[in-house]
Every structure is written in C-alpha cells, then in structure tokens.
Subunit: 572 residues, 2 copies
C-alpha cells in the first residue's frame, strides 16, 4: 500500500443516491467510488475498492499460510468432463456459465474448484505419506445468478478464497477442518466483522458437517435461527425444532364431511368453519422423480422445500402441477390424506403429532372433513422434520422461543469427505497397499462479499466507517483552504510526515471547498480525518476526527502527524 494525492486519485464521488441501489453497501460503495457496474452482477473495482479488497486478501493469505495451507492458482476456464463425472455440470444447470471453444469443446467458468483440485492432487501425491495437504487460491468465481442484486452481495463474478484439504481419513479431515475453522475466525475477527458460526445445510455440494460464517446485516438474505440462551444456532434451512408432546388421542372426534363452497385455501376454510389455521392439516403433493409424495404440515406452517429436496437428493423434487392432480384423480385445493392411493408416500412433519381432530380436504370439490386423525383415518408413512421455522418456535435444546436473524454468509466450510474424490478416482495408496479416495474438506471465503458485509456493519447516514484493517487509506489529510499557500504547505508537510511514519495516507489537495472535502472524507470512510485550516494554522493546531465515533479533538500542528498516528492506533 502507499500514500497518494486525492487530486490524482481516480475516484469521483456521486452526490445522489443511485436509484438502483437497495442495500446500504451497494449505495455507499457506488457513491464513494469504490465500484462501478459493468453489467448486472458484474463490477469494476476502482482504486479505493481494489485497495480494500487487497487488504482483505492479505489478511486471508496470512491466516491461510499461517495455517499451513499453500497457495496455488487454478484456471477460470475449465473443461466440462470432470464436472459431468461428479454430476455438477447438470446440478449447477444454468447457474454455471457454459461455453464452447473454437473446436467445439465444452467449457465452464469455475464456480468452485473441487473438480480441478482433486485430479491435480491425485497426480502429485500418490501416497498416504504425502498427506495431509491443504491448497488454496484467491481467484474470481462465476455463477450466473438469476437475479443479481445488492451490489457486491449477490453478483455473477466474485472474488473468493477457496481451500481444499486432503486427508487420509476422517480424523485427519476433522483436524484439517478445525484448523480452518480457527483460521476463519481469525480472518473475520481481524476484518472487524460481527458474525456467528452456524451449522448449515449441505446443499447440493454434498457431504456432511458444514458451517457457515454469517455476518449480521439487516439486508442479509441468509437467515439463521438463534436461541436467546445461546445454546442453539443454525442456518434457517438446516434448523430443527423440538418435536411437540404427542396429542392426547384418548378421545377423538368422528370424521365428518362438511361443505366448503369456494374455500380452496386454508384462510377461506378457517374463516368459514371458524377454526384457527393451526387446526387445519395441509396436504401438499410433490412429484419426486415421477413418484407422488404427500407432505402433511399444520395449516399455519409452510413446508421447507429445501429440507425436502435434500431428503431425496439427487432425485429432483417439484410441486404438483394441474396435470399431476388430474392424473391421480385428485381435486386441487381439496386434497386430504385420507383415501389417498396406496402408491402415494405420506410424510408428516413432527408437529402433526402434536394435535388431533384435523380439518383437511375431503378429496372432493368444495368439501372438507373435520375430525381427521392419523392412524385411524389416514396413514403416515414417516414422521420427519419438514416445516419452515418461525420466530418464536421452541429451541430444540432448551425449548425457549427462537429468534430469526438476517445475515450475509461470508464463509462456508464443508467436510465433503469422498463425495468428489470417489467419482473422480482421486486416490492415494494407504499403508496397507490399498487405493483409497482422499477425504476432503473444502473451505470458501467471499472476499468481495466481505467488503460489502463490512460496509453493512460499518456505516451511518454520512457514509462508510471502515474498521482500520480494511480502510483503503488509514488517514485523510484535508486542506481546508486550498488557495492559502501556508495552509497547503502545512498540509503537505503533515502528509509526508504521516507517510514517513508508515501510515497509508490520502492527501486531499483538491481544488474543492472544505465542505465537499469533509463530506467526501465521511463518505469514503477513512478512520482518521486530519484537517489543516487557516484558523488552526494561526492557533498552531490541527483538527482531528475519529470517523468511527465522530469524536473530535485538536493537536499541536508541529506534532500533528504523530497525533493522527496515535489516534489511528486506538481506532477500531
């Protein structure tokens, strides 16, 4: 890093909020001249943005190298073949950018690199003696998001650190994984982020144990569940509920058909019959690879389709369409579990055990039944965890009401085991002479996303408030009276002194009013502002401001540089 004069800096701030920017980080990174959009979800990093990005990269490199990982660099354009072998060519579908070269060979742009790194390691490390190894890279990744938005938060081209550990067995993997978890903690602590580490949904990458590093942010689209007691934290899609006490089934109502004209929704039936939605039983039908599956949940709850998809992965799951209802002779809007054909699998959420005497569809147009009970009136093939969690649901550990929080996932670590090494035949020879697939971990850390998360957590109505570890410049020296030669000369002297002290300093020597300079300094978010003005020079002082707190102070002009450096040392 180095110091610089703002009159030469390629950074023109915007006075107006860009209309397309919904998230604070998007708005501020555009206004403060950190990024510029080239097309939807694709950005140029301007000098300020690049400097912040490089700071994060450096922190990540130090922590990765310090953890024994080794940096390599894999290509962005990749042959399709290994992705077809693992099934991800299909699984990613349109999310992977695909192209053909001039000879017609199919290529993809790397969304992640398991398919490249596993064959690489297999070619180099043939023996268990060579293990463990952990390779990482910091490189641009590509995912064709359907709807990019929120600036650097949901993009199609993003900078990611991805690491891959290769171990002989599960114990080795656990050790490599723990080392990475610690390295990630240090990275995000150094970046000054507030975050939680939660168990996450393994998604389609496959594998088992995995954790997300979730940075708190009001605009975050990644939800997690937290118990106020602190004894439970989980990604919303992975969170489970404490199953309710089973309902007392000693006395049951009888099954009765009722006419419910034009009441095909829970809301309408609830209103018509004067019963709360929680007394209704939703019976939602899915096509699972050509087979019909009914999912039962209470009327006031939603099916968690992510959990359902994971349950049947890799078989595709989709909701019934009109034609599917027709082919089974079912009446959409009036389906109930009683009397469903025997080849329909019936799954019920655990919560269904907690009540009885359900109101549900009568499998007949404009009719429902009341007093439907599992076992007596309908079959349940299996109880499972299938509902979406809501705020207030009981903690699975202590039963306290759970909170739902918004966040940005900035890191994701996975124990993927042999999910990729097995199909790719990435094997080593173990001490007993047998070939075994490497036991892999993979570890992603979003660099560009961390920039956005840091801004989401550190801003006010005037602009960004960088933690000093991420600021593109640590101190800005502002000359308040540009046409005053003595003031300018003092500013210049202080600027050079600060640079001499090893501080990354920006010298605002522009031919602009003091007001514009103050506003830009606040907007761009440098941790310490030092202002040299006519009155200060006369009084022998400079003004200092700590951006994080807004705290102002003065310092003698002859030791201004040291005072700014001291203020910086105490800055967050």
């Amino acid at each position: 890093m180095s110091s610089m004069r703002m009159s030469r800096l390629f950074a023109r701030t915007l006075r107006e909020d860009p209309s397309e920017a919904e998230a604070p980080s998007h708005r501020l990174l555009l206004r403060a001249a950190y990024i510029r959009q080239v097309m939807a979800g694709v950005y140029t990093m301007l000098p300020l943005g690049l400097r912040t990005m490089r700071r994060i990269e450096r922190i990540v490199r130090e922590e990765m190298d310090g953890s024994g990982a080794q940096e390599i660099r894999m290509p962005i354009i990749l042959p399709a073949e290994p992705w077809k072998v693992t099934g991800r060519w299909q699984a990613y579908g349109e999310t992977m950018f695909k192209l053909a070269d001039r000879h017609g060979r199919e290529l993809g742009l790397g969304p992640t690199h398991e398919e490249v790194v596993a064959p690489l390691v297999a070619g180099e490390l043939p023996s268990y003696r060579d293990l463990p190894v952990n390779l990482y890279q910091i490189e641009w990744k590509y995912r064709d998001e359907y709807r990019p938005r929120f600036g650097l938060l949901r993009v199609r081209e993003f900078l990611m650190k991805d690491a891959y550990s290769f171990d002989r067995d599960d114990d080795g993997l656990q050790a490599s994984y723990d080392t990475m978890l610690q390295a990630y903690r240090r990275v995000f602590d150094r970046c000054g982020l507030t975050y939680v580490i939660v168990e996450a949904d393994p998604g389609t990458i496959g594998g088992g144990v995995n954790h997300e590093f979730m940075a708190h942010a009001d605009v975050g689209e990644d939800l997690y569940v937290a118990c106020p007691n602190g004894d439970y934290l989980a990604d919303l899609e992975a969170a489970t509920l404490r199953p309710p006490e089973p309902a007392d089934t000693t006395e049951l109502q009888s099954l009765t058909e009722v006419s419910t004209p034009s009441a095909a929704t829970i809301e309408a039936v609830s209103k018509l019959l004067g019963r709360p939605a929680s007394h209704m039983l939703k019976c939602i039908l899915f096509d699972v690879g050509g087979r019909a599956v009914a999912v039962l949940v209470p009327g006031d709850r939603e099916v968690n389709e992510t959990k359902l998809a994971r349950r049947f992965f890799p078989v595709p799951v989709r909701r019934f369409e009109d034609a599917d209802f027709a082919s089974l002779g079912l009446v959409k809007g009036y389906v109930g579990p009683q009397g469903l054909p025997g080849d329909v699998t019936i799954l019920a959420d655990h919560s269904v055990r907690g009540a009885k005497d359900w109101v549900t569809g009568a499998n007949k147009a404009e009719h429902h039944v009341t007093g439907a009970n599992a076992g007596r009136d309908f079959r349940v093939d299996e109880y499972a965890d299938l509902v979406q969690i809501r705020a207030g649901d009981p903690c699975p550990v202590c039963g306290q009401p759970l909170r739902i929080e918004r966040s940005i996932v900035v890191g994701h670590v996975y124990q993927i085991g042999t999910t990729y090494s097995e199909p790719l035949k990435a094997t080593f020879v173990d001490d007993d002479g047998t070939e075994r697939p490497y036991v892999m971990g993979c570890y992603g850390l979003g660099i560009t996303r961390t920039i956005a998360a840091a801004v989401e957590q550190n801003h006010d109505e005037h602009g960004i408030r960088w933690p000093k570890a991420l600021a593109p410049f640590e101190v800005v020296v502002i000359v308040a009276n540009r046409d005053d030669q003595q003031v300018t000369a003092e500013g210049e002297r202080i600027y050079l002194e600060l640079a001499g002290l090893g501080v990354d300093v920006l010298f605002d020597d522009r031919d602009e009013s003091a007001g514009v300079k103050f506003a830009d300094a606040d907007l761009m978010g440098f941790p310490v502002q030092l202002v040299v003005g006519r009155r200060g020079v006369d009084a022998g002082t400079v003004d200092l401001k700590l951006r994080a707190t807004g705290e102002r102070s003065t310092a003698p002009i002859d030791r201004a540089a040291q005072a700014a450096a001291d203020l910086l040392a105490g800055a967050p």
Copy 2:
C-alpha cells in the same frame, strides 16, 4: 513471501521430460513443478510458479505505481455490445471466447479491455482538467488460440498487465507513452531479461506508433529484423527494405512467348528455362472485399500478407481460389501482369523496380513469356512495400545485410489515439467547450509470458537458473544426511537464521538422498544452494553453490547464513 520446508511443499518434480513439451521453458516448468496443464493452453500455477508470478507482479506494480498509473480491476466476463460498436466482436472472431448468459445475453471473456475502460473513464472524468489519467490492472486474459503450444508461451488463459492512458491531445499521449516505455524498460531490466524494443505492426488493434518488447529466445515465434550496425530494429512484419536502384532500362529484350509444359511453379519454370528464380515475376492474385488485386514480387520472394492486409484493413483480403481464377478467365499457375483486365489493381513491390526482362506467366495454359517489362508490357498501378524480409536483405538505413532474430514478445505498447474512444463516444469537454474523444494509449505486459521468457533465457541441461528477482526462493538449504540428527539440526539452525535475515529460503528437509536433493535444487533453479553434510559439520564448514555460474565455495558453518546471504547479494 515467506520461507518454507520442502517436505511440506506441494511440488513433485518429474524425472522424465514430458513428451508434449517442445520448448525448454515448457519442459522445465513442468518438470520442476511450477505449472500443470488442465487442458490445452490452460494451466494451474503450483506454489513455485505462483511465487515467481507474484514476484513479477510486484515489480510491475511498483513500476506502474511509480509512473503515476493507478490500479483498478475490470471484469473478465463482459457484455458484447461495446465490442460490436468498435468492430472487434467480429474482428476477433473465434479468437474471443463467447458465451450467453441464462437470459440469452451475449458475453465475451476479455482479451484486452479498451471497450471497458474507455466508457468507465468517460463516466468519471468529464473535463480536460481531469486529464491525464493512466489506469492499469493485472488480470487473466482470454484468447482462444487455434493451436496452443510451448507451455506458457502460447496459451488461452494468461496473466497480463494492461494499462490505458487518457490524454487531451497527441502531445499528452506522447508524454504518457514515453513514461510507459521507461516503466517497461525498468520492469524488464529488473526481471533480468535480455530484450530489444522494436517498432511493430499495429495489427488489427488499430492506431499508429507502437513498440514491442522482444525477449531473445531460440524458440520464440516472434521474429524481428536487426542491422548489425545497430541502426535498425523492427518487427519482421513491420520491417521495410531499402528499395533497390532502378534497373537500367535503356536496352530491353522483346516480349516472347515460350512453351512451358507442366511448369506451373517458379521452381519448374526456372529449371526448364535455366533462369534463376529472381528473374521470374510472381503475379499473385487476391480478393480484396470482392475486388481483384494482383501483387507482383520477384520469383525468389514471398508476399507479406500481413502488410497487404494492413494496407486494406478493415476490408478482408484473401488469396484467389479456383473459382476466382475461372471467373476472370485466368489460368492458375500461368498468370502474368501483361493483359490483365483493366479492373484488376496491380501492385508491385519496390524490388520489382530493381530488375527487368522478367519471365512471367503468359495467361495461357503451359506457356510463359520472357522479356516482360513494366510500363511497356504491363501496367503497375502502385509500387509499395509488399515482400517478406529475409536475412541478408539490405538495412533500410545503411544498406548492411540484416539479421533475423527470434524472440518472445513480452510487452507491447500502442498509441491508439481515438480509435476506440471515437466509436465508443468516450469524450471529455475541452477548454473551448467542445466534446472531444480521449486520446488513448494502451500498454500490455505479459506476466505469465515473462516467466517463460525468463526460463528460456536462464537454463542449462540441469534445469532453471533464475535471476534472483524472479526466483520463488532465493536460497535452498540442503541437508545431505537426513538421518544424521546433528547435520539436520545444523541445517535447521541455518534455515531459521537465513529466514531471520529476510531471505526467502527453502529448507530441503525431505527424506530423500543427497543426489535427489541436488538434482531438484538445480532443476528448480534457486540462485544459491547451501549444503550441510556430515563431513562439513566435522570440518566446521558448509558448501555453497551459485546456480547461475556453477561456482562452488565453502563457508564456516557458524556464519553459513550470512555467507549465503552475501553470495545472494552478488548473484545476478
């Protein structure tokens, strides 16, 4: 950079020469574990390769920043539209990787970034007061080479530093250009390359003055012409010849038709008539955007089709095919300039003026003519520079015989002027209130190519001999007797001492024989080797070797680290 133990380094050397590797740098970078191929023309950089790459990047950054250029980072995936506006979407053709996103929008992978940077600057710097500015990035570039080869020399994904200067006028451009020329000299000097700076063919990028930085290399595919006097240097495609003295035309033979059965080639006619090829006149026909153009060159010379294409750019030029000959009623193999239809443009190379009484085609099957003379027997619409240069041709400055040298182009700087800013409407408001297009320069520097060029220039039969500025590690400490605890402990001590001195040191602590370690050290090419062995420990000495010269020395074991550091300080 940092120090490291070789037992943990992800670098497995290859004992055998890879069969696919034709160039020394390709062979050595593979064998010494710097790179691995993922597919044709696409490589992974292993830890050693990445370290060397980062060293070059750092040199480039320092020199670019020191020249007042500012680093940004532009996307790799780019929208097609601006490339269509400048015509390069078509001009690059299959050389540009093209794809469509999920919404069907056309995208390309950036081969260079004029189409991105010009609109960016236009959005930020509206006034002449904002100029000049020079923006650069170091990023992967994409060109779908028809036949990738020679390892990092001709690839499809390569790391390039590309810079773009924006000036108000030609004088500004000249100043920016000169600054870049100087910066490039410093970069390549610091990289220890032997190179020349030559005037080059502007190619299809357009624009005028441009220079190539050509690093000498026997495998180089980029040829340049040099006068032994040192007064002329040029890219082969751009070089010109001193035109010959015009032939004395006071006495001319008469035009005579001769029968030349089955002699449709220069060689055959030459043999049949007993006349040297230089007495024949080749008449080569081209289709230039639908128009016929004949090019006349002596029989012993070839048409420089690059020069011809440049002359007519952007109109496409192609050689006549059979159907073209037929449509003009011409007999392929027997075409001569005399009697060509009036709508055929006839161009002759300057060398055609230097002789008379040509043998050429009679425009009749199996017949030629002798005694053909320009002006009397055929028309020449224009004399121009149209031949390929050969070794021994006269220098255009002094007439001395020229040499042709092989090289690798590692840098290319262009004065492109308004070639891109004009069609892209990238304009600024000048002091008279008028909108003018920026006057641009563009400056490319191949980082991965520089790695290969450095290896081409610095290797022997044992491996690479890095100049210290580019070496992944500066010193390797080799423990010759791994199972000897005292020797190992001494090695470890020296390793840590060297690291403490700020030297990038690799500690070869592997469980391998001394012979393997010596061979790997030579192969990988670290500038200084320090060997600790049993005999040395007994004698109180270590052995040192300077890889560049092979020079060996010893040093007292208690000041071994300092001795290695001193040797490094004097290494090339």
